[in-house]
Symmetry: C2
């Protein structure tokens, strides 16, 4: 049976028109160190129309990709609104990528025009060859852009255009924006957001169980707009009439503290490193965060001490969120459940997050079966929903999808209240007899032994169990390293079937450039027989 | 260009599963006067599955309509969740309709099964003939149902069924629920909500600029679930984990005060009459509303004095909402904009409402042209959006649609902040020379004259202007009624072209059964030449 409802698509144009017609007096503030530029939504909306006209004049048509290579500022927001509203696709380029990744993305995305910050000319010039396929480069702001050859000026593109545009009707499933993941292995993978996914994600961000973004807020997206759409904050803020405070390149503790003091944001979002820096800065400096009702952290696990630090020092909740480029990104937020004891607050906030409405999360075991949401069964998280990707742009799916669900590569548990707890990455777990052994938990248990300085556990092939753990340990100089004793020590700490049979005492654990254990090297050493392996017989 | 997003439909099943898997410890409370029944979402979810199995056993298939004839209680919520989730359509029957309307609706909707409160047997028995086409009647609760012949018991329907169901995949545009408008003229008109419209509306209700419903709330829907889905509160509450406090038939001030005192809802929604009663009750009784962060009123214009009364007496905002059966209903909420002066709060709250994201509202003049959102241009409100109806179920559109927009029949202004102000119904405005004259404003201006007791203004045919106003007035016995003087009095009060040329002094204004001016009678008297009309020549 059909409904009688109107068939009105969910589009970014609709978000744009709502902010324009209802929240014209809300503001976009762009912090510039010694001053702050301000513009009302009405003023921004006029410039959005002029930008669309200018891009149209440059030949941008529906479905064309327009790249941005920018910090967070008003013009970047204008691009976010104009490009999808005119039926084109805004492609945010991550300014922090290696040149070869950036070149790949510009080419693979097929960008027709690239808007860039003149101040970032040097970074963009490193991929000048990849820009040969781009018809027009448009520079925002002042700076020497000569290294990029012929360049248009953003303000000249807008000058002389009328502040109105005959916005086209678009299908809600059409592409609106795209973003590439920047994994450390293989080519970057493109995710293409639709108008529909963006509207639904924005609604989720504005929900009370989400970030609760509304017309009384002033939000500071510290997370870059080239990083998963700044977690959806720009669109959600425009839709809900929240002021947006843009930090540009001023992401250090001192200017952030100045922004909080002067512009009093009610909400701010950034990676844990930023919040850690600001907390340390506050040890020796006056920092006033009293305007903030919450701070949001994501992009990496948020340390418990950091959450406790913000509570103790400022009385402000630091809310951990979880998501990925593939998930728009908001999937889960670690907000304590109703009726939880005050003493449990930090515990709940330290978890990965509680699944938000619109997203379905499940835990899948090594054998592909869905496990119970019991807070104990460990498996890979799989995610499903209207703002979750179902493929990659112009690339094979690389085994990342399972019955229409996205395989996240994260391993952990889901409890009966919808709280996720990530414990591992799939590449770091050992698949043994159809079950998973956490290398992270084994390592934590092993280093608890007083003789052990460092430990790294890898999975090695096993004819019967598929894989078994091999523990590589660095022991103190003054101890008599007895792997039998270490194994016995572990027996009370982990499940018996987790106990490694194979141990290797090594001089040091090889490290990656960022100081993490380089397990690829250990696996390679093992494969070549270059590890001195002891076998512990547990009888 | 296509997006890479998953094609996951928006369904009530998704709402159901989210509440079940994430908010299992939230509660549904059903107030029963001397006690309150409580059930967790987990318990309710099990019963929802059992209800779906029971209905399936009775022969309910996808697309079938299942009627409900119930107060607000846990079982009604179970029906709300089970029926659409199994692919059928929940059809809420308004227990307050006249028997002929109710009979029409049951027949026109084609209900296959009707769930009803045993306590409402008498009301339902008045349309017993219309129930001949219904396969099964299912009684909820205790009471003598013998007047309805063979009846199944709800608890027996559930008994013995497993608390799980293999929920089908449904298309998001499929029918999920239906509700008939109960206008005073013509047959009731059916509106069929889709899964998509219900999910989007629920997300809007949970948004910060909406009702902000979230997991920390306990919501009291006083507005009946047979009245436009209790304004969407049940689905939004289940989706967001808010406790739901169901008042059943206890809608009087005393039991409502008891519910507030005992169960401490954070939010409650009802018509202005209810809030007026409660405010008066509080004059002579202890009433503790301190648990509430806001009260929501809708269904009729909310008097300014009522809003001020709640602010003065309780310090609680009474938030006026606007919508219709045709609009799911939430379209606008009268929440003061950011940075508004405290003195302006009651002014803003007294307006009809501010348009919420997802809904587009425009003002259209008598000539069909869209007018400016300037707070001054008067026209009919037209509404567009994914939760607005685009037709009526199995009926002609009755001139209610215009280029895909719903014509609301309400007349007023829209300002630059998205605030609507309704001043008239279209049937009460006079179309003169392509513009509209408000009969309400004219009447208010006329009765301000000390000689006038009552006034009613109607539009009468005019060869040049299409329509012109005719003012019918009742004057005080002791005054010398001079329509020339009345006309002169009006000149400083309304636009010159609004001034009625024709006046009729009458003994009384004919009234409808609810005491409103019966303009149909006046128009008929005029057409028959039975009004004694004076013509004022303004030269």
């Amino acid at each position: 049976m059909d409904s009688t409802m109107q068939d009105v698509p969910l589009t970014i144009g609709q978000i744009f028109r709502h902010g324009q017609s209802v929240f014209g007096s809300s503001e976009v503030l762009t912090y510039a160190g010694d001053h702050t530029r301000r513009a009302t939504f009405t003023e921004v909306a006029g410039r959005v129309a002029r930008l669309a006209r200018g891009l149209r004049r440059l030949g941008v048509r529906e479905g064309d990709r327009v790249g941005t290579f920018c910090w967070n500022h008003q013009e970047h927001l204008e691009a976010y609104l104009a490009i999808p509203s005119m039926g084109a696709v805004v492609h945010t380029l991550n300014i922090r990528l290696f040149p070869e990744q950036l070149a790949y993305i510009v080419r693979h995305g097929g960008d027709k025009v690239v808007l860039f910050d003149a101040s970032l000319t040097g970074l963009l010039a490193r991929v000048r060859e990849a820009l040969d396929g781009v018809d027009h480069l448009v520079a925002i702001g002042d700076g020497d852009t000569s290294a990029l050859g012929e360049v248009l000026a953003y303000e000249e593109l807008l000058a002389g255009e009328e502040p109105s545009y005959d916005w086209p009707l678009v299908d809600e499933r059409d592409a609106a924006a795209m973003c590439y993941t920047s994994g450390t292995t293989g080519d970057p993978k493109g995710v293409v957001y639709s108008h529909r996914s963006t509207v639904l994600h924005s609604m989720a961000v504005t929900s009370a169980n989400g970030l609760g973004l509304g017309q009384l807020d002033r939000v500071l997206p510290i997370v870059p707009m080239f990083h998963v759409n700044a977690w959806g904050v720009p669109y959600a803020a425009w839709m809900s009439g929240a002021d947006i405070l843009m930090p540009q390149r001023f992401l250090q503790a001192a200017p952030l503290a100045a922004m909080f003091a002067e512009h009093r944001p009610t909400l701010a979002a950034g990676v844990p490193t930023i919040w850690n820096d600001l907390l340390h800065f506050a040890e020796d400096n006056d920092v006033d965060l009293s305007s903030a009702r919450a701070l949001v952290a994501g992009g990496a696990a948020v340390p418990r001490a950091l959450i406790a630090g913000y509570k103790d020092r400022f009385g402000i909740p630091l809310t951990q969120g979880w998501g990925m480029t593939e998930t728009s990104p908001l999937c889960a937020l670690a907000i304590p459940p109703r009726n939880s004891a005050p003493d449990d607050e930090i515990d709940y906030r330290s978890r990965t997050g509680r699944v938000i409405a619109g997203v379905e999360v499940r835990v899948v075991g090594a054998d592909g079966n869905v496990l119970a949401n019991d807070g104990a069964s460990v498996g890979e998280f799989e995610v499903r929903g209207p703002w979750i990707t179902g493929s990659y742009f112009g690339q094979e799916d690389q085994g990342r999808f399972h019955d229409g669900w996205l395989r996240t590569g994260d391993v952990g548990t889901l409890d009966g209240l919808g709280f996720m707890q990530i414990t591992d990455r799939t590449k770091d777990v050992i698949k043994s007899g159809g079950e998973w052994i956490s290398s992270v938990e084994l390592e934590n248990a092993i280093v608890a032994h007083p003789s052990v300085l460092e430990a790294a556990v890898i999975g090695v092939p096993d004819p019967k169990w598929d894989e078994r753990p091999l523990a590589c340990v660095v022991v103190r100089d003054d101890t008599d390293a007895d792997v039998g004793a270490l194994s016995a020590f572990l027996e009370s700490k982990v499940a018996r079937w987790w106990l490694p049979e194979q141990w290797a005492v090594v001089k040091e654990i090889p490290k990656t450039s960022v100081g993490k254990a380089d397990k690829k090297v250990l696996r390679s050493l093992y494969a070549k027989g270059e590890l001195d392996v002891d076998v512990v017989d547990r009888g």
